[in-house]
Amino acid sequence: MSAPAAALRLRIFPRFEGRITLFLGLAVLLFFVLLAVFAPLIAPYDPIYQDGTARLQAPGWAHPFGTDNFGRDILSRVIWGTRVDLQIAVLGVIFPFVIGTTIGTVAGYFGGVVDAVFMRIVDVVLAFPYLVLIIAIIAILGPGLKSFYIALALVGWVSYARLIRAQILVLKTADFVLAARSLGYSHRRIMFRHLLPNALVGSIVFSMSDTVLVLLGGASISFLGLGVQPPTAEWGIMVSEGQGFITRAWWMPTFPGLAILALSFGFSLVADGLGEWLEGRK
């Protein structure tokens, strides 16, 4: 390849690369959304129907992913599990995002005592092992998905608060803020209508990669028996149920785990692609 062509390719490649990554990720997510929406039509069996004659069957034509110790079809359970795990990934990020962004914006904008107090709280929460804090809060509230969401909201906001605060601290010295203030706009209007939209990009990219952490966290919590309760089909529980059968039925933990991996991969691709694309646009 001649030198100018190589240079041209180098210049264009990163922009395309970001888009390809983004579209691949979105395709994976779309696949799982369709799976969740049309689960009743796609799944070949009832996810909680126990077929006593078909226990622990290896993957084959009748059951592509095999069956579990109750004779339930693992493929159908993985498909139905999409509904629960997709919900965990989305809801588990929205609450911390909204709370953290609000607190971070207010703290960064006003500074002083408000800022100092919130940032010390952030320090304390960050000094704790993330999962341990979540487990402790769920122990207080009782096992279940609702407790998991509340625990996430109480713990997860700190990262978002930190991110947005750092942005606001830089942006609030900009001329457009001075202009808005001289026009007599209220603090609330300046914070949420002028500063926030300019500061949000980094948080949105982070929220996409945070989805992966939340998804893994939710599955871990269910794995420990603190999240989704049986017989609901959820990937983390399914892996946990397979733990006792690793010597006899490798397919029991393997396929639900692969589903977690695939969905996480989709979210990671979207995060990477979005990040690269926004970087390229600057």
């Binding site: 304390v124 092992p129 893994l216 599955a219 794995f223 892996v239 397979g242 991996l261």
Partner: protein, 312 residues
């Protein structure tokens, strides 16, 4: 030497954080429903027996007074007695700290052994198939739940190949080492994904930096430029990332210890939460939190030592 002055003053900033941690732990553990005395004695215990146990562990005092005693004991180097194990909490931790320490250090070492070659390959052959391969592998690594990696490793290496034991910890040093291979590998696989991505990005930035160009201009071969100038500078942000992730790492050991049935601190903590063993939960959570703060402090010192421009 004034660049190192923060080593003296930074610990003062830890005090409010550690105070906050102690309050948070104390309040959280007491919010967990269930009475430790009743948990201990069972459902058929008489009211007077429960009263006696409550008095013995100071559980009948008002909560602020309990906190005061907790801090007072802490100042004297005591963490109280475990209600379930009936021993001094610090002694209990001393017997449990080794497996967790081995797990954390072993997996960090293993993760670096995986991440450094991968990131080196990706950054030196940027844009090639090798780079794309490293990217895909590390992105997949990010999405693997640790408990699932653990089970997959068990199926392959314990059940089918019979190389390593399925779970447990062992007694002799060599026995322990054999038991810890799979747990360390489990954590290292997730951790190396994070480290590889970060290291690749900072290596690429450093390869194109002015100081690397200057080294090349002095006639240094590319290999020397890379290992003497690029790699040391690129490792600093990655080691900092490792320090920031130490809390995540410790949380991960809780899961891995539970899957592999390793008698470590994480297992002690989770069991403590479920048996309402207040003193154990407080002590373990405090130890974890203080360790997190200290590791971040060490990372700061390391950064200052490695980079003369940094002032903290």
């Amino acid at each position: 030497m004034h660049r190192y002055r923060f080593v003296l003053f930074r610990p003062l900033q830890f005090l409010p954080v550690i105070f906050g941690i102690s309050v948070l732990t104390f309040v959280l553990v007491r919010l967990i429903p269930g009475d430790p005395a009743r948990m201990l004695l069972g459902t058929r215990a008489t009211a007077s027996a429960i009263e006696k146990v409550r008095a013995q562990y100071g559980l009948d005092e008002p909560i602020w007074l309990q906190y005061f005693y907790f801090i007072k004991n802490l100042a004297q180097g005591e963490m109280g007695r475990s209600i379930v194990y009936k021993t001094d909490v610090l002694k209990l931790i001393a017997t449990r700290i080794e497996p967790t320490l081995v797990l954390v250090l072993g997996s960090v070492l293993l993760a670096l052994l995986i991440a450094v070659p991968m990131a080196t390959l990706a950054s030196r052959r940027r844009g090639t198939m090798a780079d794309q391969g490293v990217r895909v592998v590390s992105t997949l690594g990010l999405g693997m739940p640790s408990f699932w990696i653990a089970l997959m490793l068990m199926i392959v290496f314990s059940v089918n190949l019979d190389w390593f034991p399925v779970s447990g910890y062992g007694r002799s040093v060599s026995d322990k080492a054999v038991h810890m291979v799979l747990p360390c590998l489990t954590v290292a696989l997730s951790l190396s994904a994070i480290l590889t991505r970060s290291l690749r990005a900072s290596l690429i930035a450093q390869i194109n930096s002015d100081q690397a160009t200057a080294a090349r201009a002095r006639g240094l071969p590319e290999g020397a430029v890379f290992w003497r100038h690029v790699m040391p500078n690129a490792l600093i942000p990655t080691l900092n990332l490792l320090a920031v992730n130490i809390g995540w790492l410790i949380g991960g050991t809780v899961i891995v210890e539970s899957v592999f049935a390793i008698p470590g601190m994480g297992q002690l903590l989770v069991r403590g939460i479920f048996s309402r063993d207040y003193m154990v939960v407080q002590a373990v959570a405090m130890t974890f939190a203080v360790a997190t703060v200290l590791v971040n402090f060490l990372a700061d010192i390391l950064t200052v030592a490695a980079d003369p421009r940094v002032k903290l």
